[in-house]
Symmetry: C2
Subunit: 372 residues, 2 copies
């Protein structure tokens, strides 16, 4: 490894870090990525790949616009990955069926429906009977639902794999199994990153901190308070008797289709430190949650379960932009929206590095907002 200098060193090889590395390598820079794990991102493991910015939005805000902007980059982003790798990531626009288990949940969905309808967003309000007509086998107890045709989903595990392959094709150098232990700075600039296994330093002109749940301690080593907490999300893969036609969701419990009658059932939101293992309680709550609205899953085969750690922040918004030193950029804290926001995040970080500022204001997401 040595100390050969890159133009950009990205710390963190998840979806965010790799998307940034790809974008910069495509712009002609020499880019390296260091990642402690041999795996492709801890937060990705907590994702089922829903690109659903509408979700439970009742008031459009800046973050909603950010999310829609990034979602709309996806078709072009996936084309680019395909042109580099020859692999097409499984991507669908079949929508999401939001269902309500009782009248209280239906009132919440009605709020979503009214707010989004006023914004001319396409969605359909459904009675309990209409919901069951859309997908037979759903619970006869359902009070109703809302169908969101604009929602997309993709195979997030496949995306992670294809993205790394694309970045490698574009010339990005990956240092896997290597932990970034700290950043070494002089006056106003970071000069190198100290890494372990083997112990070494990696120099670069620019540094990007995209280490997800592990970003907090690294920022701390620079004296920046960045209260990012890992939020565990557990996930179950089932194989049903038939293909699921679209995403189905009731509150935090959802089903996302996968090829060959497989589906992902999720999830949990737990603050249990860096423990990314599946628990009896998590598995139970997911199975109970999804079988409550989709009792036909009782006979679905259990294939496997896993968990990932989403990087959460106090305001649940991501951390984007330069901080502390002029050549250090943060792209972390994406919480449950890392996959959705990856193409836009990559574009903005590339803008900062190549042009000094992004194409839109990202002030609300500046790293220093938790400093005081």
């Amino acid at each position: 490894m040595g100390s050969s200098a890159s133009d950009v060193l990205v710390i963190g090889g998840g979806i965010i870090g790799t998307s940034i590395a790809l974008r910069l390598a495509r712009a002609g820079l020499r880019v390296s990525v260091v990642d402690a794990d041999a795996d492709a991102g801890q937060a990705t493991r907590a994702s089922a790949g829903m690109l659903a910015p509408q979700g439970e939005m009742v008031q459009p805000d800046d973050f909603f616009e950010l999310s829609r902007f990034s979602r709309d980059l996806y078709p072009g982003f996936l084309d680019e990955l395909e042109s580099l790798t020859g692999e097409r990531v499984d991507y669908h626009r079949d929508g999401t069926l939001l269902v309500a288990l009782d009248e209280t949940q239906m009132e919440e969905l009605d709020q979503v429906y009214r707010a989004q309808s006023q914004l001319k967003l396409p969605l359909e309000r459904l009675s309990g009977q209409e919901v069951r007509h859309r997908l037979s086998g759903l619970s006869p107890e359902l009070a109703g639902g809302v169908f969101v045709p604009g929602d997309h989903w993709l195979d997030s595990q496949q995306l992670a794999r294809v993205l790394v392959k694309a970045a490698e094709k574009a010339g990005v150098t990956f240092h896997r199994g290597v932990s970034a232990a700290g950043l070494n700075a002089r006056t106003s600039r970071v000069e190198s990153a100290s890494v372990t296994a083997p112990a070494s330093t990696l120099s670069a002109r620019h540094f990007v901190l995209a280490a997800g749940s592990w970003s907090g301690p690294l920022a701390q080593s620079l004296g920046l308070r960045l209260p990012i907490q890992p939020c565990r999300g557990q996930m179950v893969e089932l194989e049903a008797a038939m293909d699921l036609p679209f995403v189905v969701r009731a509150g935090m419990h959802y089903l996302v289709p996968r090829p060959n009658r497989r589906l992902l059932a999720g999830t949990t939101s737990e603050y249990a430190g860096f423990d990314s293992r599946v628990t009896a309680g998590g598995l139970h709550s997911i199975l109970q949650g999804v079988m409550r609205f989709a009792p036909f899953l009782k006979d679905a085969h259990f294939r496997t379960a896993w968990a990932g750690l989403r990087p959460d922040t106090p305001d649940h918004y991501p951390v984007l932009g330069p901080a502390v030193w002029e050549n250090l950029f943060f792209a972390t804290g994406h919480f449950r929206n890392g996959i959705l926001l990856a193409p836009a995040t990559a574009q903005w970080v590339a803008d900062w590095i190549l042009r000094g500022q992004p194409s839109r204001s990202l002030d609300s997401y500046r790293p220093s907002r938790f400093a005081s």
Copy 2:
């Protein structure tokens, strides 16, 4: 493989078939075992290794005596396995804590307590508070319990592995991945078994049918009605924060200790044909069942889950003895008691083959009892 003759051909390489093969090989016979699976027995996979003949017994009967007799053979049986293999199967006599979730269940446990106390069997009746004193972390809702100090358990997966190794050491020949397709008889004797992969026939002087859930169709090929049905049992392996000191059980839900803070949680009883996969519904019911009396398992780590097929009969008793042809012996249908009954079953089948009859009457378990 060819058609080289054995003294005994055992069809089925699970715990029952392998125990029989070992016993006969130790008596000096040339023994072969055929098994379709590379794995060590389908019913064993549905077992947590409890050797608990007392269980919910309220009336001592012949089967209870059979079970106690076999359980008492275990220490010597495990010594024998150790002397052949150098491996000690993990075996404990720490007892079972039966717990009641409500007053109705407590009345059932009281019946067990009164019946077994009258028989001078050792057990202790416990209040809800005493139950929680025995094992902290149990549900505060528990109405009470009964502790059965006489109950044993062993590591059934380890037993399966060590038993095969012991049988191989004793000279038993295993034909794995080979299905028995039928038995070929002339006048009063079976002469050979037709097997697949590669297609061949295996001759022997004696045949033992120990094919568990697959025994029914094989018996059918001989014209014997043997209504054995696979009863699926699902099993979950967890890793808790501490070692479980003994078996804990509420009805069909139980926890059985394993080394290193692991434990098995079970189970289900499902008639779903030969489908031995884990289902969402099965996993959910087991986790719900055990967390109801042991809520501390919420944070236990999920390690893996699997299922097995117990061979069940209409009266739930095993099928033991000769039938149809004079040199064909049945040792199957052990339902939930295969591991418990293995050493005794091996002894009785050996008695039949070597001495013409077993050391006790097994008339109640004769294969022909379902014929009419």
